[in-house]
Amino acid sequence: MLNQLATEVKASMSIYDAQEDEVYGLLAEFAHPGELLHAAAAVREAGYKHYDTHSPFPIHGMDKAMGLGNSIIGWITLVGGITGLSLATLMQWWMGAQSYPIGISGKPFFSIEPSIPIMFELTVLLAALLTVGGMFALNGLPRPYNPLFFSKNFLRVTDDAFFLHIAASDRRFDMSSTEAFLKGLGASHVETIHDREEEDGV
């Protein structure tokens, strides 16, 4: 049960377990963003869950085609902002009015008005840091090892190539039928990705 949950969380980060025969998945290349979008929608309709598309830039409408909802990152930002705001308020109140009260021109030791700039700055600071940290965490990054990197063709993913990867951990995955299915969608090139093999001297 817990293992199942861990697998699903990892799948949401595009991290999958390899099969016993070291097969990690099938990597199909498509000619352009339009084909990739159609292929992703078709793969989803066929019932696959453990798959992802890889492209040099985000493709408009891909989240919908893959059936992915809204990212939850906004809630992490909110938590960061509230933490920053509370921290700044508490800090200025405790340091200025409790721990080290010092009279300046008869002004109150703590009041909201002069505290606003720092309340605002710390709200933004913590919200921003948590957003970035949360984004990397939700994406499972940094991830120095990724079996997809064994594919030489995959090096072009950050240049001008568009890939769809179906992981072997998917329940519907079957070497021959999945490959035929991908080719049927118009993939120009389908390659099997193996996990934990030697890198062949690049």
Binding site: S55, E121, V132
Partner: protein, 484 residues
């Protein structure tokens, strides 16, 4: 896209999204990658070493001047009794202001869906970070007892003392350091996909290791892009009020005091407009040179520069309007000291500085009303230099003219900077260009993935215009870029 915009049908005219192409020269995805990445991979050109040596000389100068200052104390500066704030604050505000353009381009234009920003946001953000580093030098060395600078941070200490939170100077510490941190992470997040591009092109082991670590294992997965894009949007939404707040807080350093000429409520918006004005001028100065050297004129086009010049015209006029408003308010207030401070600015001993500021900031940018002039590279370069000078003088005028004639005529004095003041300022340009040249050499100066994303070929529906879902003509176009 090209043919569609040439047909002047009613439908194409009504579609306001259909503007002139952002990337010219019929470039493919691969061409963009190649154009930008190759500059970080080729052998270092001799000219770069020349420029870098010059920048290092400036940096050395800065370090020597700082060492001289630390050894002797702030007496080596030209500060005198009424003018207790001189070059240090002027330079601080100048550099922080320059930084603002980068955040405006990366965050505010992003929220307004101004897609032309993708060509310039990377270099403008880099400029922001380096300018803020230069700015932070000044308050640090200005405190006199530099070894106590950490007292500005709320750190537990054996004295049981805490910073004074009612001071605008302390707000500045929080505002500028937050601004620096957020700008840095924003910049890094934008860089990750492009560093991954460099990683995938790396030919040496060292390059692969360094870019591999920095790219964090980015694979362009859509499950990642989904969180990434949302996070980027949220960062832009956070950076937008932040950038407006930073220069407002900087202006509080002046406005919260009771000095005539400083004590005015117009300062926060006026400072923010001035910051954007000076920052855009600096972006134009830097990019006019960088796009030429890098041969990326098809990505950073004249259209981009023209748009920046329009922003310069707009904000310059806003700043000029603020100068005039200040005079009106001084007159209308009926306060003798306020009125004197402003008459003294215009006709007093610093009139030369005042009129330099007026002509550079209000007068010269007005030439940009003419389309020919704002699309002329040489002309815009000259104007941008004038604006840089004018905005430095603005801070000089605000700081020095308001201080040098105190309430008591017996304490009046004339402020002249010493060689240490001047050379320290010159030295910060060395610091700035050292960082900027390293950036130009080792990082992609254009946001590759973002530029690709705004090309018409990036739209998945670009390919199904012909109705059959497989547009042969376009498909050939895209494949052509993939053959290596």
């Amino acid at each position: 896209m090209n043919t569609a915009s040439k047909d002047k049908t009613l439908a194409s005219l009504a579609d306001f999204h259909d503007e002139a192409p952002l990337v010219t020269g019929n470039l493919k995805f691969h061409d963009i990658t190649e154009l930008v990445s190759s500059h970080t991979e080729k052998k270092t050109p001799l000219a770069w070493y020349g420029a870098f040596s010059l920048a290092l000389v400036g940096l050395m100068l800065l370090l020597i001047m700082i060492a001289y200052l630390f050894w002797n104390g702030t007496g080596v500066w030209g500060l005198n009794n009424p003018v207790g704030w001189g070059y240090a604050i002027v330079n601080f505000v100048f550099w922080v202001g320059i930084g603002h353009a980068g955040t405006l381009i990366s965050a505010i234009l992003f929220l307004f869906r101004q897609q032309w920003r993708t060509a310039i946001n990377r270099s403008a953000e880099a400029m922001t970070i380096f300018a803020v580093i230069c700015a932070l030098v000044f308050p640090t060395i200005h405190v006199g007892r530099v070894w106590a600078i950490y007292w500005t941070l709320p750190l537990p200490n054996q004295m049981g003392m805490w910073p004074q939170f009612k001071s605008p100077l302390l707000w500045d510490v929080f505002a500028v350091s937050t601004y620096f941190t957020v700008s840095l992470v924003f910049w890094y997040v934008g860089l990750v996909p492009d560093i991954a591009t460099l990683r995938d092109r790396a030919t040496t082991k060292l390059r692969r290791m360094v870019t591999g670590v920095l790219a964090m294992g980015w694979t362009g997965a859509n499950r990642h892009w989904r969180n990434y894009e949302k996070a980027y949007l949220l960062l832009a939404a956070l950076a937008t009020p932040l950038v407006l707040s930073v220069h407002s807080v900087v202006s509080f350093d002046f406005a919260v005091s009771v000095v005539p000429g400083w004590h005015t409520t117009i300062f926060p918006p006026y400072f923010v407009a001035g910051a954007i004005f000076s920052g855009f001028a600096m972006v134009v100065t830097l990019l006019v040179i960088a796009r030429k050297i890098y041969g990326v004129e098809n990505i950073i086009t004249v259209d981009h520069l023209e748009k920046m010049n329009i922003v310069i015209l707009l904000t310059g006029t806003m700043v000029g309007f603020a100068y005039i408003t200040e005079f009106f308010v001084a007159w209308y207030s009926g306060v003798q000291y306020e009125q004197y401070a402003f008459t003294n600015r215009m006709f007093g001993p610093y009139a030369w500085a005042y009129w330099t500021m007026m002509s550079c900031n209000l007068f010269f940018p007005q030439f940009f009303w003419f389309k020919k002039l704002r699309r002329n590279i040489t002309f815009m370069f000259i104007i941008s230099i004038f604006v840089n000078i004018g905005m430095w003088f603005e801070r000089f005028v605000i700081t020095v003219t308001s201080l040098h004639r105190d309430y008591l005529p017996s304490s009046w004095d004339y402020y002249t900077p010493t060689f240490v003041d001047v050379l320290t300022f010159v030295g910060t340009f060395g610091l700035f260009f050292t960082f900027f040249l390293l950036f130009l050499r080792f990082l992609p100066i254009v946001a590759v993935s973002e530029v690709k994303g705004v090309m018409p070929e990036a739209d998945p529906h670009f390919y199904d215009h012909e109705g059959d879902g497989h547009d042969a003509a376009h498909a050939v176009n895209v494949n052509a870029g993939q053959k290596q």
